[in-house]
Symmetry: C2
Subunit: 599 residues, 2 copies
């Protein structure tokens, strides 16, 4: 059926909406695809719903091809399963909670791991039932602190989430690969460039975790990649430990006065002015031929306060080369599920042995950092602080530092931690060369959950030997509305949207111009012919609207092919306008169907 | 793509679920269509989702044919629009309310009138934009006091809701007719018998309101219909007032002792024993030739307490013929938006002039009921109590009644009220003959909202003369999940579900039986052929499952056509089993596609 603009529910706007910051948000509102209903919550207008539905169809087809079956969970869920998994608490302010008339607790589901797990537990009991792959396309809810960027970070949004269920590691790997392949096909069909990066695998105890990122400068995720093929988001990047250095023969630690040097910069300046140049072989940048003191020679000790799930507060000190900053996102991941923040003035007051600006693992009277030290504070080291490296660092005495402090001789860590900032040129951990940094937007996530939820919620099956085994799961998500926004972000020009054919709201837009009844009659015929040929046709049949307004609307809406029926109508000629290239060809009306259906 | 039962996500159950009361709930759970997630909240399994999606497709097609465009509103909505319409309050406990992290109020939308109105206000401003028809298929939320009967009365449920926007009465009528016609086509395609009954038009000020009821004995709605074509639900049924009788010459009211007669039954027995037989021409059943006292000669005065929206409590007395009861549902509608309940002992204490069991509008010392009476209590009369009718009723003195009390002479009402129970044989108000009573389930509602929401929320457009006029709206709802349940309720037998072809989860189920590899090979071919012919095929390829179990599952699932491939496979023979009739035909495998695709 031809959709007529004279009746269609559409109003294009000339002005960008006041609250829109990003292009996709501006254009989707101006072109009549979405409308704001509340912060981060949108109403879908007919054009928007059509594009969304085309994306969903592509996802459904590829999920079916991957052997996944569609289900649909409620959005409104009882507290109990989330209580059991610990997420009722751990989500904090991030979810919407409510009570029903009887006072029972409910939430609006932000994800459905618990429900998928319980459903399978409810119905399946044997290894013969596995592998199983099920998915849903469903509206989800997160009470974002700052909903922004239109559909890119909303509070009500549509996701495809799939889960796989296996009872062996090999099964999980096969299920994971099938989903990963399906994701590649989905993004290819959507015309959406992607990079698959290693991601942190979180707390769930699973093994593989990869994100599909669309590389784009405005992306909120940073990832690294090497020419040799390594790719990871910064949270998952790991620094390999260099080879340890010999300890024997290294000079003894030497305390020195270092007035007013509470920062790395002031410390380095002081060292350059007052200390002999660093001896070869001590820690520092390998390329530093000048043998001058640099931040890389210093050991920065950052005091963090962790808040564990049970509410207890723990101080932890992280030792990093002074030329590295602590990366907050990496720290969040490294210490999860604990919350991490910088130690407060109060924390320092409670620990007077930590002399702010002059903190170090060592003091003339003994170890100051480490579980076995005088403070008992856990001390974690960057992987670069290997045994035998010598450092300039605080001496735990006001205005004093120490140099020639050797790891593995003068101080020891309680473990290694990957929280230092990542820089372009850092070596990829797989030896594939130096990495470069890039920005991207997450468009999908494939993730081996492993046995966390199955263990927590008791999902077990009988194996071939009649033994109860815990099921191992995979989780696979795609943000449907987010992808729509990214596609709008990528496919536009200064006139409006320019949809790829795979997801355009209509295949072709027919525009009748002028006041000539013959033009409208021909446009009517052309529209009917295109419709009969199986194309989805939007026909701008509005009388008394100027060609300029009609063309402007067509450009804003972004249907990829536009057929203009106007002056040439009397001669049976129409114009075929390619929205993306801007090319316009005069074509006999009789040939237009063939032109638009032949590839 | 052929769906294989060996991989499909399905588990059929032998036992009815413990909490299921109705057939549809039992069978949909047992056959693996839905699963309970919380009271009145369900998870859709693949089979259920397919049937739901087929119903939605039929609705979408007919909505499109009716010129309605699809939109999609959020489920999570801000308080403000509902505050403006007064429904944030008036919904009471019936909706789910919540707060976001900033403390702002939200609700889970039970319906979207306000949002539709505001959206059109937001985008449209001229009569040229109208008429407009838009709809959505969306999950809605109501915090039902007693969620029950599975999908028939849930707390999260799917509805199609459409709204039309016009600026003239004629336009609204045309839009209404178009939707009403679409509903008829939808229910016809679904194979769902319906009766269109006049419904109460509520408070919205609109004119026409009709419900589509499916006539079924277990339905929760009662409706009436006449052979002459009248149909209404009981709330909307009206009793026409009979012609008034002459007052002149009627005997004067006569108080009489009537000890221990606080009920109609005791009063009638007393009258028969102690009063002269009723004179001809006084109120009473026209067919009562015996001229004996009956309940119909008495006037029953029912004291009700209304609670108005502003919280004030008002007593109202309703006068009805003693052979009629007060119908609570009709009273609810008649007094809405006030809440109505029976007067309490406390109410009577506060109004000592009302002598319980002996209440009447009249007393020897003057009028007792009515706004102008001694009590000032509003007094509303059943339409049958016309001027000139004479009644036996309470005299407002303990143990005393009065007879020959004539309406329009001895007492007066403040208005007419339609709250008496309706009985089979009552005359239809349109003169089309006596009505019969039947029960049904609401499956759709078409409703002229009129200007209530547009007025409240300020939806106006400029008309042809440049004058601002308030838009007039129609509202049209279909309960998608409810219809699915009703269809399951109607289409089953003692073996399981029996779906109509229009909404079956699959077109055909192929069952391979036995251990013969040839049977499985042929079943594979038959499945592929049927799939290639465009049929949606479920193939029961489970090895080592007995034919009995496979047949039982097929009967429970209810796919309308079943192809059994077993013993005859070696000879190229299969069995075609019609689930509804139970007929089984032996058919050459080569002909099965033709048999199933020819109508």
């Amino acid at each position: 059926m031809v959709t007529r603009l004279s009746h269609f529910f559409l109003r294009t706007l000339r002005e960008d909406p006041a609250d829109a910051e990003v292009t996709s948000h501006k254009l989707l509102v101006r072109a009549g695809y979405i409308r704001r209903a509340a912060p981060g919550i949108f109403t879908w207008l007919p054009l928007g719903l059509k594009v969304k539905s085309r994306i969903e169809t592509i996802i459904r087809e590829e999920m079916a091809a991957a052997g996944s079956y569609e289900v649909h969970f409620p959005a409104l869920l009882p507290r109990e399963p989330y209580e059991a998994s610990g997420r009722w608490e751990s989500y904090g302010d991030g979810i919407f909670r409510l009570k029903d008339r009887r006072g029972a607790d409910y939430l609006l589901a932000p994800t459905h791991e618990e429900m998928f797990t319980l459903l399978v537990k409810d119905l399946y009991s044997s290894y013969k039932d596995l592998p199983l792959s099920i998915f849903q396309i469903q509206d989800k809810y997160r009470d974002e602190a700052r909903p922004r960027a239109g559909l890119l970070r909303g509070r009500e949004f549509t996701m495809k989430d799939a889960y796989t269920f296996d009872y062996t590691e090999e099964g999980l790997d096969a299920s994971y690969e099938a989903q990963r392949d399906a994701y590649e096909r989905i993004f290819q069909r959507l015309g959406l460039e992607y990079v698959i990066v290693a991601a942190d695998n979180g707390l769930m105890g699973g093994a593989r975790s990869e994100e599909f990122l669309h590389p784009i400068a405005v992306g909120e995720d940073t990832f690294v990649r090497s020419d040799g093929g390594y790719a990871a988001n910064v949270e998952a990047f790991t620094t390999a430990a260099p080879v340890a250095l010999p300890i024997e023969g290294q000079p003894e630690p030497q305390i020195f006065d270092s007035p007013d040097t509470p920062t790395i910069d002031t410390l380095v300046a002081h060292a350059r002015a007052h200390l002999a140049a660093p001896a070869p072989g001590i820690a520092g940048p390998a390329t530093d031929d000048a043998r001058e003191w640099t931040a890389a020679h210093t050991l920065k000790n950052v005091v963090l306060a962790l808040t564990h799930l049970d509410g207890t507060r723990e101080l932890v000190v992280v030792g990093l080369p002074g030329d590295r900053d602590l990366d907050e996102k990496r720290a969040e991941v490294a210490f999860a599920p604990a919350d991490v923040e910088a130690a407060t003035a109060e924390d320092f007051e409670r620990n007077p042995m930590l002399v702010k600006g002059y903190i170090g693992p060592w003091s003339p009277t003994g170890a100051v950092l480490g579980e076995e030290s005088a403070t008992g504070i856990r001390y974690l080291l960057d992987p670069r602080v290997v045994d035998g490296t010598a450092w300039v660092t605080g001496a735990n005495i006001d205005q004093k530092h120490v140099h020639s402090l050797v790891a593995g001789r003068d101080f020891f860590g309680d473990g290694v931690v990957q929280v230092a900032s990542v820089r372009a040129g850092d070596p990829a951990p797989d030896g594939s060369g130096p990495v470069e940094l890039a920005r991207g937007m997450e468009i999908g996530h494939v993730f081996q959950l492993g046995r966390f939820f199955a263990e927590t919620l008791g999902l077990k099956v009988l194996d071939e030997n009649g033994k109860l085994v815990t099921v191992t799961m995979g989780s696979y998500g795609i943000g449907v509305t987010r992808i729509l926004a990214i596609l709008a972000e990528l496919n536009n020009d200064d006139k409006g949207l320019v949809w790829p054919e795979s997801i355009a709201p209509f295949d072709v837009q027919v525009v009748a111009t002028g006041r000539d009844a013959a033009a409208f009659a021909l446009a009517e015929t052309v529209s009917a012919d295109l419709d009969a040929a199986g194309l989805d046709v939007l026909y701008d049949d509005r009388p008394k609207v100027s060609p300029g307004v009609k063309f402007g609307d067509a450009e804003l809406i972004g249907v990829p092919k536009i057929v203009i029926v106007g002056r040439g109508a009397a001669d049976g000629q129409v114009e075929l306008w390619d929205r993306r290239s801007g090319d316009r060809d005069v074509v006999p009306a009789a040939e237009i169907v063939a032109r638009l259906t032949t590839r």
